[in-house]
Symmetry: C2
DNA sequence: ACTCCAATTCAACGAGTGTTGAATTGTGCC
DNA sequence: GGCACAATTCAACACTCGTTGAATTGGAGT
């Protein structure tokens, strides 16, 4: 005698799950467990649907990762390209500081993606590395151009390598976002948010002194931050 | 009729596999697949033994990771502590540069461990985070002390935060080791090794100008590197 | 009222995982 | 020679994983 089918509800749910919600869930789970560690079942559980549904909207786990990449990196890149336009009247120093702010604004509350992207670049499985390079490297090129503008206009020292300097500026900002919130409370008892703001300002001061032709000139665009009292 | 046992060789092999060899294999596999992605079977295959043998030498996969951590980070920490001794007659600038060299020497060919440690700090599963903090943070404290020496002796600007500055110096060196070999060939066609050496020197110049009271003073201890011709 | 399709679920497959307990055997000691 | 023990392997357990094919159903269009 065959067991009677439990007859649970199949078919469409009253509340549809659209791909964006799946990406939200994926982002959250990737953030905690990493690309390898995150399971489609966990993502589905978080989105409130069946794992199989993911395959209705995305071709595979990796395709979902690429969609996620587009969604988060896209806006950053276009905003960066805007800032690096050579007709912008603001000083190069100020625009470099604004670049720090762009990364902070778009990726500040996005630990997972930062780690994933970095991890995949380092580990570098050819395929994923390529898909990241296509999206990230144009932005780096634009920042390099901005630095060259700074050199031509005499704001930045001539012995400055645009490539390395771009790398220093961007990578350190991302390192601050990634690590300071975890390390600062442990090492100094400072709350994470405050520590990040202080670190960013300290970093930019150091960075600018390192490449400027007039390092002692004031940087009026840098914000004042209330120092924490111990 | 029961199938006859294949009667392969059990018991000790002629060539013993000591724990260190297991750690070598683990390091290699962790480097490629990450902490989650690496399987004990893959490690055992590389070490030329059975997965079960790992449990004879280590309590678990995680215990093996901690042993690996000790083996690679231990020497770095002791060497760092030596350099930061306040009785060292060399200038603070030179000793900070030597710190860069120490990280390079010990971790330069050790991509896996760097990524793992960083990843675990960021992701921060309480247990592993603690086990890393205990090993890594004392070294950071020592470097902070060295920077305070520099401030007292007038080599380093007074508005320098020892904590953040330590973070900047160390993290950037590790970022160079991690990312430049992958990114430089793609972005500039420069071979990885050369790019790393150039980046380290460029970084230290920028860093030192950012914190020094006399930023224009020459740094005779910096090596000359043949520039690549395009 | 009927049809059709998009959205969803179920159930399963095969592969790979960390881990364990028992079995095996070479080596050195008495 | 006999014995204890350390080092090693085998076989299995109970999971979890990504993925797929078939089944199901609510709602839109006619």
């Amino acid at each position: 005698m065959p067991i009677p089918p439990p007859a649970r509800s199949r078919g469409p749910k009253p509340t549809r799950v659209d791909p964006d919600q799946l990406l939200d869930a994926a982002q959250a789970v990737f953030a905690i467990d990493g690309l390898q560690g995150a399971s489609l079942r966990a993502i589905a559980r978080r989105a409130g649907c069946d794992p199989a549904l993911i395959y209705y909207h995305f071709a595979s786990k990796e395709a979902m990762f690429e969609a996620l990449l587009d969604r988060t990196i896209g806006p950053v890149v276009t905003e960066l390209l805007g800032l690096c336009d050579s007709r912008d009247p603001r000083s190069v120093a100020e625009r470099l500081w604004l670049i720090v702010g762009i990364y902070h604004a778009h990726l500040g509350s996005n630990v997972g993606m930062r780690g994933l992207v970095r991890g995949e670049i380092v580990r570098g499985g050819e395929a994923i590395q390529e898909s990241i390079a296509k999206r990230v490297f144009p932005a780096l090129g634009a920042i390099g151009q901005l630095i060259r503008q700074g050199i031509e206009q005499g704001e930045i020292r001539e012995d400055t390598s645009p490539l390395f300097t771009t790398f220093f500026l961007v990578r350190m900002e991302l390192e601050i976002l990634d690590l300071i919130p975890v390390m600062a409370p442990r090492l100094s008892g400072m709350p994470g948010d405050l520590a990040v703001a202080l670190a960013e300002r300290a970093w930019f001061r150091l960075f600018w002194r390192g490449i400027a032709t007039r390092p002692e000139e004031a940087l009026p665009f840098l914000p004042d931050i209330e120092e924490a009292r111990p």
